[in-house]
Structure formats: C-alpha cells, structure tokens
Symmetry: D2
C-alpha cells in the first residue's frame, strides 16, 4: 500500500510503498477514509526535539483518522468487518492503576498511535480494537477524523464547569476553534477568544457569534477582559496555545478563585509568581491531556447531537496523502484551520 513514512532521523517524509498491515490478535485493520494533520505530525515531519525524543524511523505517522474495519484480529469480538470507526490515539495498557480507576487516558505505560506505533497516513492502518470508537455506517469520515482533536478541547473544558460562566480561550488554532464552539454550546455566559493570527481569530466568530475577539498583539487583552467582567476577570481560562506568554496572561485575566485549564504544550518553561498568580488568588489549575476514554467521546457525541455545535468550518483544506508536505506547511504557517488527507 501507499503510506507516508518517516524514513530517516531528519526533516521530511516519503510517500512510498510499504507492506499492508496485519492485525495482532487484539487489533483490527481499517481502510483509512479521512485523516487529519495534528501539531504532533508537524513535529515529526520537521524532526524537532519533541520528535527526536520519541520517534524511531522508519515509521508511518499520523493518528487522527476515520476508517472502515476490513480485518479483525483473532480475539476481537466487539467490532465487525465494515464497521466505521474513529480512533482514540492513546493506547492504554489496561492493567495499571490509572487504567483501573477510570483514567486510561493517563495510563502509566501509554503508547500513542502514529508515535509509538505505525500511524494512519496510509491506505490501511492497524489499530488496537480497544481504541476504536464505533460510528454509524453513514457517518461523515471527515467529521470522524476530527473527533479526536475535538475531544482534546472538550476534555480540557469539562474538567471543570463552564455553564453560566465567563470563559477566555487562549489560541484559535483548530483545537481552539473547536473549544470555542463547544463552550458556546455548553452554555457559557461570555466568551473571550484570544489569538495573534488575524485569520484564525476571525474564524472564531463562526464558532461563537457573540464571542469577544481579542488580538493580544494589538490590544490590551487584560484590560478588555477586566472591563467586560466588572473588574473581576473571567471564571475560567482554557489555555490551548502553548505560549508561555499566554500562560502568564491566563493568570492575569483570571478572577479570584477561578479555574485555568492548561492544554496547550509550552516548549519553554513557564515562570509564575506563585503568590500573586495562584496562592492569594486561590487559582485552580488543571492540566489536561488527550481525552477520557470514553467519557469525552460521549460528551463530543452529545454536543454534535445537540445541534448547537458544528465543528466542520474549522476544516479549511483537503488533499491527497501525497501532498503531505504542502499540508504540513499550510498548518504550520497558520494559513489553515484543519487539513484533511485522503489516501
């Protein structure tokens, strides 16, 4: 089959022929219908430090995907050939303390599809059955491919409450846009969207028509938010940008006793003035990663069913697998929302 392969420990990737995958006893093989480029894929393509620490070439990467089951491992009895599935990319061990207590998403021995195993930028992909989220047979594959990143946003949001609250979202990349749409549907009272990239900021309007859009490069975000909240600041910040400056600002716009959810991954250390930022303020800081299995997936499905949340406007580009380089470039430079790839 054709696949995108990280061939060597260097930037780039090849679109090459490889053997079809064979399922292990607990795996299925899916025919990939639609896949999406994630920030992690950019790291792998660009061979950043993050990738160098984790990736062992040669390997197929990519992990956001929707496909149809075409082959079943010998022990798989929860799926059938022909089932359409989306994929949870965190592979839990199933037996550690975290897996045994409802926290498979922070498994002590976590592996990740397309990082620690061959991924989904290919015609076919081998996926553990335990990572398959079954969809209706006619489910839009493009929507299926982005359920995983929607889940990242929703998990970060719903580790606390947002109903009736004021919420600031830092970062309007694809996950930020999903988050803004979800927060709007989940009954937030007031939404602030912050993003220095004008095009992305403008896209936020499609996800929450009444959101206050703030470009922190041009505007005094702290002042705007404070003035719009009676001087108190917001009840909740959802930090999706991974910018250390944004993390710092998150605490400045937070009200006393408010909640900050950190989801975006800063590549530099963050520096905080603990008394002012956290202690005197009695801030609650929640780190979140990935998605709960399967609580978050059910929440995402509920949001989609509610008719109040449409994530598709975040998808801005679609192309063939072979055009991976172009897709990576669009995503990296902020000219795109979500980029989908097709085998």
């Amino acid at each position: 089959m054709k696949a995108i392969v990280k061939q060597t420990a260097a930037p780039g990737a090849g679109y090459v022929d490889v053997d079809d995958p064979k399922p292990g006893p607990k795996d299925v093989v899916i025919a990939v219908k639609s896949a999406a480029i994630c920030g992690t894929d950019i790291h792998i393509y660009d061979w950043t430090r993050y990738a160098q620490d984790r990736i062992k070439p040669p390997m197929i990467f990519g992990h956001e995907v929707c496909g149809d089951v075409v082959e079943l491992g010998s022990q798989v009895d929860t799926l059938q050939k022909g089932d359409r599935v989306a994929v949870e990319t965190h592979i839990p061990c199933g037996v550690c303390f975290q897996c045994q207590t409802g926290n498979q998403h922070i498994c002590e021995k976590m592996a990740i599809v397309g990082v620690h195993t061959d991924g989904v930028f290919a015609e076919y992909a081998k996926i553990p059955a335990v990572c398959c989220w079954k969809l209706p047979g006619d489910f839009d594959p493009d929507l299926g491919a982005i359920l995983e990143p929607i889940g990242v946003a929703v998990h970060g949001i719903l580790e606390g409450e947002v109903n009736g609250m004021s919420v600031a979202v830092f970062g309007c990349g694809p996950i930020g846009l999903f988050g803004i749409g979800a927060i709007n549907a989940l009954g937030a009272n007031k939404i602030f969207a912050l993003e220095p990239n004008r095009a992305r900021l403008e896209m936020a309007r499609k996800f929450a028509p009444n959101a206050v859009l703030i470009n922190p490069a041009d505007e005094n975000a702290v002042q705007i938010i404070k003035e719009s909240t009676g001087g108190r600041g917001v009840d909740v910040v959802v930090e999706l940008s991974g910018s250390p400056a944004a993390v710092k600002m998150a605490f400045q716009v937070l009200r006393l006793g408010g909640r900050v959810s950190l989801v975006g991954l800063p590549s530099q250390p963050i520096t905080l003035d603990a008394p002012t930022d956290i202690i005197y303020k009695e801030a609650k800081v929640f780190g979140t990663t990935g998605r709960r299995m399967w609580d978050t997936w059910w929440q995402v499905q509920g949001l989609l069913d509610s008719g109040k949340f449409d994530p598709m406007p975040a998808v801005t580009h679609r192309m063939g697998l072979a055009e991976i380089g172009k897709g990576i470039d669009l995503a990296k430079t902020g000219q795109a929302g979500k980029v989908l790839l097709y085998p």
Copy 2:
C-alpha cells in the same frame, strides 16, 4: 397605606388600610414597584394546612417583589435611598452553622418574608437590608419581581451539572418554565418538558424551542424518554411539580447513575422502591429549596446577561393589588403563568 392583609384564620384576604412600616435598625423600607404571586400565597389565601401551620393573622403576605428603597434603618450602610432592589425572601440568622458555612439559604433559624414577617403585597414593605439584592436604577421592576422564583429553578438545576446532558423537567408552572429556559441556556443537550396542563406545556416551547413536550396524562412519558435516549434514560431530572406520581416517574426515566433534583413540594408522602429506584440505579437525589445567598442570584444575573434566557414570556397577567382574589384564582387554576400585582 393600602395592603393585602390576611385578617383571620380563614380563606380569603382583605385589601385594607394599614400603618406604614417603620424600619428597624437593620431594615430598609421599600416602595413596592411590582410584586408576584407565588404558590405560597395561594396556600395563605386559601388557608390550607400549610398556612394554618405557619401564619399568624393578621399579617400582610406576598414576598416576590421589586421596589425602591425609601427609608434606611439606623445601622444600614450597604444601601442608599433610591436604590432599586429585588428581595431574597429567606431571612438568615447570620450566626448558625449553616449561615457560617455558606448555606444561609438553609439557616437553622430561617424566617421568611410574607410568612413569618409582614410581606410585600402593599405600597411599602419593611425588608432586612441583608435580604436586598441591588439592581441598576433602570432595571425592569417586573423582571425584578420574578428574580426570586427564577432563582428557585436555577438553584435546583445547578446543584449538579447540566452542560451537555439530557434533562427532564417535571412541571411547567412558572418555575418550570424558568427552569426550562435556564437549562436551555446552560447548554443541555436534550430537554424533555412534562406537564399535564396543555396550555402550560405549550408555553414551554417559548423557553426551549427544541424541547420534547410530553403530556404525561396522554402519552407514555417513560417510553418516549427512553426511546429518545438510546434506552438509557436522562442524565438529570429536575422535579418542580410536587406531584408524588411525578416523583415516582422521575426515577423511572433516570439513567443509571443519574441525578434527580427535588424542588417541588409534595403534599403527600412519596413512596419509593429503594433498590430499583435509587440503590441499584446509584441515583443521586438532591433536595433543594430557595436560592443560595448570593451564588444563585449571581448565576441568574449571568443568565440574563448572556442574552440566551428571557423569562418574561412566563408573565401572563398584570393587575392591581386590589384584584388579588382574581390573580390567585388565575394562578391556582393553571390558566396563568406568572401574575404580577401593582400597588
């Protein structure tokens, strides 16, 4: 001044002249701008068992109100003459365990305006300053008069979460309508409204256009709800009707592990099959009464500010104080939503 007075231990009430109220050191006197009839007022007017156990005639009743401060007690420094206020009708003692731990609304020595003290169906009313919720000077007095019952609904709803969840509301009287509107604004995924009175049920549509309206007198509510929720039942029930049959049904439509908030006051004992209704189901049952001081008031204000919740369509009748008998009758027979009275 003119006032509605419960004159004797018998049904009815008089519209009569009484002395103007004088504030104690911690009270204010307000000029009543708008007042609303509550179910408690019907009990007092009709001299039911509930009233006989609590009311000592002669006394002025009524407690849902908006007015302007016209006189200040000697120790009051948190309000000024001319301030527009709504009134929290539960008067906390301020020193008991509950008052000291953020639960003034279930004070161990609770008194209630218009039940244990003279009320607001009058030109002027004496109100403890600690019970005044300050409003902007141009706040609509009719909206101000119904903040208290809106709070009853919101408090019941927000003792748990509703965002992204399926919710059934039992009872579409005024508090039920407020509740349905609030649940819709707070991001519920799916709403079921249950009410045997057709006119009231129809009004629910104004508060949640996508709600599933169910007349349990004509339809199989349990079946409808189960079928609409994949056979599982709803995540949350908010019971506002006070009907023992509704309480029973609440547990039947609840999913495993779901939450029932009991707000409506049954006048008969409720009988439950504890293993099936609660224990094997791991139901969470929350009794709620009144409103949190002042958490719920802030939540109500946030809802109103959000632009997603308009309670005014529940107000169906407006009349002078002297027409109390007619207003009581309209409310009692279910022909009205909320009835407002003006001095």
Copy 3:
C-alpha cells in the same frame, strides 16, 4: 468436584458432586481457598422472592471468594497460573455506556457471579479474568474472601466525604462492621453505630473504640444523636441495614445539607415526607451498590496498608462447605459476624 448446588426451586441446597469447570477463552479457573456467606446466599438458600426472580436451578451459588488460578482461558494474558486472586462479583459487559465511562459496577447488562453464573461454593470456580483482583502470593485467603463485602461498605462511604465529619452507621452486620472500621480509619470526627442486635452492636466497639453505640430498640436514637451534635444532627448517614424504619430515621438524624448513602436493600417500599426529609433539609441521597472497578478495590487496599483498619474481627465462624446449612443459619439469626467456608 464437590460443590453446594441449588438443585430445585425450593428452600435448601445440596452438597454434591459436579463436573469440574472449564474456562472459556476469557476466563480462569481458580481453586477456592476461602469463601464467605453473603446475605444474597441466604436469599438463595431460603428461596425468597429475591431468589425466585433471579435464580435458575440447578446452579452453584456463593460469590465472596479468594483462590488460586489453576487454569487459564486461551485469551487470558493478564494472569498466570498460581496467581492468588480475590473476585469482583459483578461481571461488566465492557461495551455499554456505563462500562465506557468508569461505571462498570452499574453496567447496563450486569451479570453476577453465583447469581447469573455458577458460583464459588465449590472446590473450583470459573471466573472471568476481568473480575480477578490480583493479590500477593502469601495474602491471607480469609481476608481475600471478604474484600468484596468490605468494598460494598467502602464504596458507600466514599461516594462522599467523611473526613472530619460526624457519621451515623445504621446496621452492624458484617458490612456495617467493616464500614464502621473504615470510617474510623478515614478520619471521621464522631461515629454513631446503630443496631438492634446486642451482640452485633457490641462488636462495633472493636472497629471504632470511641463510637457511640445505640440500640434503637431500647434507646431514643434521634435524641442521642441530636444532643451529641449540638442539636444539628450528623453530617453523613450510611444506611446498611435495609430496614425501612432505619431509612426513615436516617433522615431524622441528618443535619441540614447532609448526605445519606443508601446501601442496604429494603425489601419493602420506603415512604418519605419529601419536604421535611429531603427538600427543606437539602439532603443529598446517594444510592450505591457493589464496588467501583477498581477504584474501590484500591481504596480498600490503601485502608489495609494504612494499619488503621483490621476487618478480621468480623469473622466469627469458619467451617467446611458441607456445613452450609449451619453457616446460613448462624448468619441469618444474627448470631454470627462473617461466616467462612472451606472446600
């Protein structure tokens, strides 16, 4: 092998020869080291209504057990021959909404070992691997056999908090005794133990030396508890007796805003005065059943490791499997704490 078999739809059971169990692909077979009699076993033996609704003779009953793995199903890779295990008796389906969201213990398609499948009152038992809790090789089998009922108590207690709180426990059967010991270790401030059987009440002292022991048949429990809590009542009630009168009393001794956990299974309907018992009181009522998989098991292990909780004094009798009739009789008449059976 020898086993206790419910042979016909009538009271009693036989100690007879049956075929050794064969594991299915996801099962193990264990050699039973120690088993314990539960209230459910009394229902089955006595052929009560509960049993008639669930049990299809002939079948082996019994479900509280510790044993050693002697045979592995073809797909089992989480256990090895020789492993000592205790058994979670609720068999989750693994794919329903509850199983997918951390609530396997209230699976929508729950089956129970020794009720819906052959049980453990036998030399060998077939157990789904997913229900095995691995123990150290030298773990006391008698302690292993009672981890499951200890879990019932701990799960009921820890659905809310008890640390620093006043707690009343209704019922001092084996689960009540485990509960009292756990509550004592978990940092409750004041413990009240209620039980009409003098012998059982007296045993509570071994589990919480400072507990206030109350015989509700002889003493005014409500008055004693109110006087010992400044007139307010307790923060938490854990109802383990299943007596409708105890459920009623639970709400009378509860403080405003307190929590009642219902664990014991009343065989009659319970009747509550909703306004007084739940609504005005803002009671929180939590039904709990079984044990969380595996949160509760970890909590039980933590309690045992802490050195603050010793459940063994609840074990009062030990006998051979063949003496099941005598064991049932001892347990039923309240002359025993926990009765253990050995093949």
Copy 4:
C-alpha cells in the same frame, strides 16, 4: 496600654505606651490573653520587601490571638462582654462578589488585622465583630491563639480530599506540623514529611507517629517517595514551605492525576516545565490562602473535638510581649516551633 509598635520604616520594633483602642460601631475590644508570632510578623519586624509594600508605620502588629471581649461597639449584637474569642485575621468587606458567594477569605477588598489595621501584640486590641470566633469561656487561650494558623493548614488540606490517600507535606514549620497532625487525623493512608531543618523534622514525629520523615538536604526524597508508593508517587502534596525548589519537587513526587495544594508563599518566581509537571501528568494545582469563613474554623473545631489531633506540641516557647525581639529571632532561625507572647 503597652504594645509592640512598628515605629519607623526600618528593622525592629518598640515596646511602648500607646492609647487604649476604642471600638467603632461594629468592633469589639478584646483583652489579649495569648498571641502568637507568625511569619508575617517576622517580615514586619525585619522590614522586608513584603513589609515595605504593605505597612505604614507607626502601627501595632501581630494577628494570631485569643482574648476576652471587654468592650462592644454600638451595633454589635452577636457578642457579649466576657466572651472568649479567637480572631479571623482576614477582614472581609461583606459586599463584593467573593463575600457574597461564600469566599470571604478571598474578598476583593481584603484587609488584614495587624497589617492594614492595628494588631494584637498589645494589652488590648480592636477587632471587627465579624472576625470573632466565639469560644467556650474556659478555652485554653494558648490553643485559641493558634487556631488561625491551624486553619491555614487545614484549609490547604481540605480543598481536596486526603482520606485513604498518600500525602506528602513539604515544610515542618508550625503550619507544617499542624498540617501533618491534621492529615493524620483525617485518615491519610501514608504521610511523608519533608524538612531540611533536623529539629523541625523530628518534631513531625509527634504529629504523625508513622510518617516517613525525609530530609531533602541529605536524602533523595523523590526516590524514597516513589519507592514507597509502588513507583507512582503520592496522591496529594501540600506545599507549606514556600521554597521554589520544594514547589518543583512537589510535581516530581506527584502521581499522574494527583493534587498539589500550594500554601507556602515563594519569595522568588517558580519555574515549571508545564508539559511534564502539569499537563501530561494531569496535575490539579490549588492555591489556598487563609481560611474559609467559617467552614475551616468548624473543621478545626471538629478535629480538636475528635481527640485525634493535638496541636499543642508545636508550641515550644512562651514569653512576655517585651521579649518580642527574642521571640522573632527564635522563630526566624528555626530553633522554635510556635512562640507565644503574653501581655
């Protein structure tokens, strides 16, 4: 009267004659029975940056105190002359959002006794009635004087749960010792106490006999804690030292999904690796300050009533007010636990 006065903007303080305090209408005057030296007092005495930013000499400092009411302001009706009281040192405004929603301890306009108003290192002190916690008439004044710092520890601990959990406490100064004793009484499963000062570390043994004592200057704290917790790390860290290195280590010893409560006030910025320390770990970080009014005070009283927690061994020195310099020196150099002063 005699009082300790910060006379000028420079290190030191005077023991001098000043006018007796007069109560405002909402204040009482107490005769000081026992007062305790806090870290804040050291800042004021030493005229550190913290003090320079807040203190306007001349003023009396000190705020941890127990005394008897000797004079009542004209509007005070919740206390009587002769009442023994401890003092909540955070003076809430009573009308801001935080004060209105059960969070007076993080009032938006907070003032602090002995920082923003004259304090308690004197024969008499003026205290807002709203800050008085009434004690029995024969309550030990020394215990009364330390309820406030005990509350700091208990508030930090109980913003989450500790029952049945493993907990590491960083810092064994007086608040650390109180915290260790409270955690022990509240049912933690395993306690680790960390402190570089040998004398203080040794004192921890009196508060939790089974605690693992770790001197992070000499021992590999991370390794010890990991090995004692099955490699996972602790469920909870309570950071009371204010050391940036300790904050960093707190995240290293925390298990996936665990909770860090930050209470101690670092004087330098803290630097965190957000992905590793918080996000991938899904850490929950709670800042806490002061004590809840009055939830924490009730919790402290419950702990004392339980008989499981005795804070008095933390009091190591007692002296007259005039010896303030010596007391400050003992506290500052870590030779003392809590130092009490008497007028």
